[in-house]
Amino acid sequence: MTLLEFARGPALEAALIIFIAGASWRFVGALLLPWRLVHATPRAGAPSAPMSAIKSIFTKMWPHKPFQSAGLFTFVNGYIFHFGLAIIVLLFAPHVLFIKGLTGLSWPALPNNVVYVFGALTLASLLAALAHRLGSPVLRLISRNDDYLSWLLTFLPVLTGLLTAAHLGARYETLLAVHILSICAFLIWFPFGKLMHAVLFAFSRAMTGVRLGQRGAEI
């Protein structure tokens, strides 16, 4: 079995199983705890709980004015690499083909060169995020190994993907195998670290939105 066959075969299958089982376990395990949300008599005219939840999910997408200057980099850079990752994963032609093979679903891809530009931008944005984390006393203090590992396992697939596309540094098959293995590592780590915020952020926002919404307070 070649390295590429291993990456495409058992490694990817195992990673996907761990990803799906682990993420489901964490998701269900957290949300099956007793809810313990105190439902007070709502303020007259306060939005309903579902409305507060939905509102909160959207209003938290941009900071309130007093937090904008200090949080500008965090928000703007965050959006850059999140959008970049979404474009690379979902709109790069080989990825579209891969997803079609996996799920049967398909959609048009962006031209490769456009995706390469987004790839480079995403890489730069991730490097900037790391520099910001290392350079800020607050972030250094609150960061855990999870933060650095999650960063690395997000960075590596983008880096190896670009190297593979550019045929740089090794044989194409080897680069592709390393790229797929880096994605496997990402998928395996996803349920255990902060990457799960991709799913749980909506629940966190919604629940706080419900608590404050019934009071007629801002979120």
Partner: protein, 446 residues
């Protein structure tokens, strides 16, 4: 009670004669009892972005990263991962979520109690919607169970348990009310068998701000309302709510509500106290469900109702004022418009502070911080954020609607020899009532 320092030199207080293991276990049990799906979703969503730091008055005023709000939750979060999170058994098996040591709990006492006013500004800053203030409040529960809270707060807790109030024994309450009535020449009602309105008080009103007792009575008398103070349920500032003492919180809440029910009151009026509002208006449902047997409103909401119904008329004041928004009333309580409506009715030109409404800076003394002398240095530093904004607004008067905020701001003003007097909104209204009597108040309306 003993004042000690950790090996790292961090001061902490410890109560009770527990062994180290028993203390640590008590904290963990307290933490675990608070881990529900809502706390879990919050704790699981943190990406350690640090946005909460710049929302915290203690971090902004000192520049010290330890005051980053999410950092204050470290032992609580660690306990969640080790004992309650979905992967807790795996983390324990592989040593990935270490035991929360007693020393860590002792070190974090100052961050959970001294350096957090539960103001919730960090909650508004968090892009993940993590309600950090609520989580700190939950963490206080474990710390209380472990006997790891500031001695001053523990003393207030014991006093409230014994007396029904941290300020005065319940048996002295009626005398205080009568004395205040005589002092200010206002007819007071206390311990009436039946009344439509049950008026409640905050500790400061039984000591420094006794005029507030007379002012509230004056407004209700002017309305011709049926009202009373009551010895069996008078103390609204719920020290159990601040300390993480849920048993006391329930006891204090029940005293108020059960007394209101007993005398047939349709409305329980909370005093000018932010935490009283949080404890009674929003957390009474813990014990009474979402259909409370009595309507609970803050004094500011009561004034707004009276003003907007035309039942209270205020002489035009024709001066400018800035308003300090009490966090538990406005940011955490949603009472943003009421104080502004009352000031507008008094023809006060409102000069808003740069950060106002839900986004206002905290006074720095909420959550029990003003009662905790150990926190004085950072409290004074935080006060200067407010001082600068008030000076910049340039209004003639400075008003708020929370007695604890007033005390905190007064202490800050005294410390920095600042010439601004902090006024109570209730006092401003009571001092400027139009003379003619109004029709009696009608029943509750939502």
């Amino acid at each position: 009670m003993t004042a000690k320092t950790t090996a790292a030199g961090v001061p902490f207080d410890a109560q009770g004669e527990l062994t180290d293991d028993a203390r640590q276990s008590a904290a963990m049990r307290g933490f675990v009892s608070e881990f529900g799906a809502v706390a879990a979703a919050n704790l699981e969503a943190c990406v350690r972005c640090g946005m909460c730091a710049n929302a915290c008055h203690f971090y902004v005023a000192t520049g010290n990263p330890i005051y980053t709000p999410i950092n204050k939750l470290q032992p609580f979060e660690q306990a969640y991962k080790r004992h309650a999170g979905p992967f807790a058994p795996i983390y324990r098996l592989f040593g990935l979520a270490p035991r929360v040591t007693l020393e860590k709990l002792e070190e974090w006492e100052r961050l959970i109690f001294d350096a957090c006013t539960l103001c919730g500004r960090c909650t508004l800053a968090c892009p993940m919607g993590i309600d950090i203030a609520e989580l700190i409040k939950k963490a206080r529960h474990g710390m209380f169970k472990a006997g790891l809270i500031p001695d001053r707060l523990q003393l207030m807790d014991r006093t409230a348990r014994a007396w029904g109030s941290p300020a005065t024994p319940a048996e002295d309450f009626a005398d205080i009310i009568h004395d205040v009535g005589e002092q200010y020449g206002v007819k007071m009602n206390v311990d009436l068998d039946k009344a439509d309105y049950l008026l409640t008080v905050a500790p400061a009103e039984l000591t420094d701000h006794t005029k507030a007792l007379a002012d509230a009575a004056k407004v209700l008398n002017r309305l011709g309302a049926s009202w009373t103070y009551h010895t069996q349920g008078f103390e609204a500032s719920n020290i159990g709510y601040l300390n993480g003492d849920l048993e006391l919180q329930e006891k204090m809440t029940r005293r108020l509500i059960d007394t209101a029910v007993k005398i047939g009151a349709h409305t329980l009026v909370l005093p000018e106290c932010g935490h009283a509002y949080g404890a009674a208006r929003w957390e009474a449902a813990r014990w009474y469900g979402d259909k409370l047997p009595v309507r609970i409103i803050h004094m500011t909401e009561f004034l707004q109702e009276a003003v907007e119904n035309g039942k209270v008329r205020i002489k035009p004041i024709n001066q400018s004022a800035s308003f300090h928004d009490p966090c538990q009333l406005v940011r955490r309580g949603g009472v943003n418009e009421a104080p502004r409506a009352v000031m507008a009715a008094a023809k006060i030109e409102l000069k808003e502070l740069e950060n106002h409404g839900a986004l206002a800076w905290c006074c720095g003394g909420g959550g029990g911080v003003v009662s905790n002398a150990r926190a004085d240095p950072i409290r004074y530093q935080a006060f200067q954020l407010k001082q600068r904004e008030v000076d910049a607004a340039g209004a003639e008067r400075f008003i708020t609607a929370c007695g604890q905020c007033r005390i905190t701001l007064d202490l800050g003003a005294k410390h920095f020899k600042w010439d601004k007097k902090v006024e109570s909104l209730l006092e401003v209204v009571a001092d400027n009532l139009e003379d003619e009597p109004r029709a009696p108040l009608e029943g509750p309306g939502q």
